[in-house]
Amino acid sequence: MSQPPVNPPSTRTWRDIPQNVTPKAMTREGKKRLVIAVGNIVGLALVIGAAGWGIFELVSIWETNPTRITAAASNVPIRDIALRTDGVLDKGWVTRTLGISKRASLMELNLSMLQERLLATGQVQSAVVARKFPDILAVTIQERSPVARVMVRSGAAVPEAYMVSRDGSVYQGVGYDQALAETLPFLDGVKLVREGAGFARLEGLEQVSDLLGTARTNTPDIYRTFRVVSLARFPVDGTIAVKSTEVDEIIFGVVSDGFFKQLARLDYILNETRRQTPPQPLKAINLAVGGSQVPVAFDMPAVTSDGRAAHAAAKPATPFGTALFSPPPRNSSSSKRDF
């Protein structure tokens, strides 16, 4: 039972009445609402259009001439420099070193050049310079720590103390506390070679740094007596000679026992010699020999230790003011230093 096709006549409903009204037929409130509605639509259209146009312009400028974008942003002058450092350099030094004019804006700056200016100072190990919009220049610095000082004479000028860091960099220290800087021993036996505005890196400073660091940490009293650290023989036999206020020459070996053991032996020897009456001035202590014996040289003929000194197993080695110190046997006495 199939149905014939149905094509009923269409009837008009109230929905066919157009709902658009001319403003003339509106009341004042209706016109006001119409204006607001139209204003909203126009405003929205303008905002969308402006946003679209802005994006289009930016994209086209970026594609054709990106410098125009930077030029547009180069009107705001730098308000401040935000410095982060792990050392002693301050904002004043950074400002002077960078030499940025007060009217300069962020986008005008050549960050690579500024970074180079900072790195030109040996004290600065690494530097990061970044723009922090709208008007802050962020500078992050990692500084070198000095382990020793070295006297540098430039031409006929008065010699000046420079700092030497663990990596062998020689630089003019800025901002260090004077009292703290004076505790650093001087470096000797090195040849300073000019390299650009500074000096070439020195060899052997890592070992010097380890020695001084170990001394400062474990035997601060001995460290305070260190005056000069010489690397004169370091290239030849790998030894570091230290001149202290008590001993003319203390030789540390790099290839022998570690610095900790050598410093312990030195501490023992110094204690033992101080106990002797009268105290015997020490001329040289060679800790680089290694093993159980330490050659010690005195300023006057050596006196073989006896009594408690004999207990220390000091034996006369040579008749001209030299002796061999041996470390005490382990657990021999509670009063003895154990190496």
Binding site: M1, S2, Q3, V6, P8, P9, T11, R12, T13, W14, D16, I17, Q19, N20, V21, A25, M26, T27, E29, G30, R33, L34, A37
Partner: protein, 402 residues
């Protein structure tokens, strides 16, 4: 999930007043009435706009008051439609079930519905509502014939139509406020939706909304609206009758109607007098209370008689078990339920708004505008569910042409 709330207005441009409600429809489809606006109507005669500017001013004043009360702006409204210019007719169609196994398909339903709605209207008139009566499948009433087995499917529509010009006038009054008309709803349907319960509609009920200029009615049976109508007589005519009969101004007559008017004669003492103002000032006069009741009851009686006549054979007391439900401003007239019961021969009562309606909106004068919101939302919900059937219809067509 983003919470979305919609604000919808309901506007009734009546002969005596313009009422506006603003409802807040939340996502869970719960409705809260958040704004009310009222204004004395001007430029409206018997539900039709006679003075565009005056009607616009009054309507827009009410809309602004409602928006201020709600604290929000609305973009669209449901508009009540009434007036003597509205007419209706019934048209039905029948089709044979197309499938070989006699199972009713969506295509069959669509076909019979389109046929039933296809009657041409006179020139210049347009449809306001197509109210479908229950389907009949082989003579038995079925709410939804889809997938039922039968041979002959019948559908009938009560079509309400009106002149394009007058309908457009109402819409343009609203558009003059730069607000869109989302739904045009018969006042009687709106009132019936909010006052007649589903049981009332199933058992049969006649809802009569007596306004100032018109009386709208809707007859429910078998759960749906069978017939609607508008009588261009209302409470304003009672006032007019009193003014003419007692030689009073319209204001004085209105005052007397509200104080002493009745829909039935209750005064036994024909000599009993009542004062016009009661302040014994110059101009204060006495009138016969019996006379006042006679005038008002006669007009109310006449209104009911006209409604009954318009309903014709569609109304029968046996099939209107839930009786007559009265509403509208004039329904506050004492004894009106008694008069309706006598005229229609069934029980009659004053309509009561649902429990969710706030106390200040429970007045019978608000039932129509309340119903606008409820009817509009339910019709939209049905419209939203319609595409599901359309898709099955498309599939049906696909198979039909294969």
């Amino acid at each position: 999930m983003i919470s979305r709330t919609k604000f919808i207005g309901a506007v009734e441009i009546g002969t005596s007043k313009v009422s506006v409600l603003i409802g807040e429809l939340s996502q869970d489809r719960s409705l809260h009435i958040i704004g009310v606006g009222e204004c004395q109507s001007r430029g409206v005669i018997k539900g039709a706009v006679a003075d565009f500017r005056a009607a616009s001013d009054a309507t827009h004043t009410a809309l602004m008051a409602a928006e201020q009360s709600a604290g929000t702006r609305i973009d669209e409204v449901y508009l009540a439609q009434t007036g003597g210019h509205l007419e209706g007719f019934y048209n039905e169609a029948a089709v044979n079930v197309s499938s070989a196994d006699n199972m009713v398909s969506a295509l069959d339903i669509d076909t019979v519905c389109r046929l039933a709605k296809s009657k041409n209207l006179p020139d210049g008139r347009m449809v306001v509502h197509h109210l479908r009566r229950p389907y009949r499948l082989d003579g038995r009433i079925v709410p939804d014939p889809l997938h039922l087995v039968g041979q002959r499917l019948e559908a009938g529509y009560w079509t309400v139509h009106g002149p394009e010009g007058k309908i457009a006038d109402n819409i343009h009054v609203i558009r003059g406020f730069n607000v869109r008309v989302a739904e045009l709803i018969l006042s009687s349907l709106a009132s019936g939706t909010v006052l007649a319960s589903p049981e009332d509609r199933q058992n049969g009920a006649l809802v009569i909304d007596i306004g100032a200029g018109t009386t709208d009615f809707v007859l429910y049976r078998d759960g749906s609206a069978q017939m609607t109508g508008v009588v261009p007589v209302g409470g304003g005519h009672l006032t007019n009758d009193l003014a003419l009969g007692l030689r009073l101004t319209e204001g004085q007559a209105e005052k007397l109607k509200l104080r002493f008017g009745r829909a039935t004669l209750a005064t036994k003492d024909r000599a009993e007098k009542v004062w016009l103002n009661g302040d014994f000032a110059i101009g204060d006069r006495q009138f016969s209370r019996y006379g006042i009741e006679q005038v008002t009851s006669a007009r109310v009686w006449e209104i009911f008689e006209v409604v009954k006549k318009k309903l014709g054979p569609a109304f029968s007391p046996e099939k209107t078990a839930s009786g007559v439900i009265l509403t509208g401003g004039t329904a506050k007239l004492p004894g009106i339920d008694e008069a309706a019961a006598k005229v229609f021969g069934v029980q009659a009562r004053l309509g009561e708004a649902p429990a969710w309606v706030a106390e200040n909106l429970r007045d019978p004068a608000f039932s129509s505008v309340l119903g606008l919101l409820q009817y509009g939302l339910s019709s939209r919900a049905e419209a939203g569910a319609a595409p599901r059937r359309k898709s099955s219809n498309w599939i049906g067509k696909l198979f039909a042409t294969a």
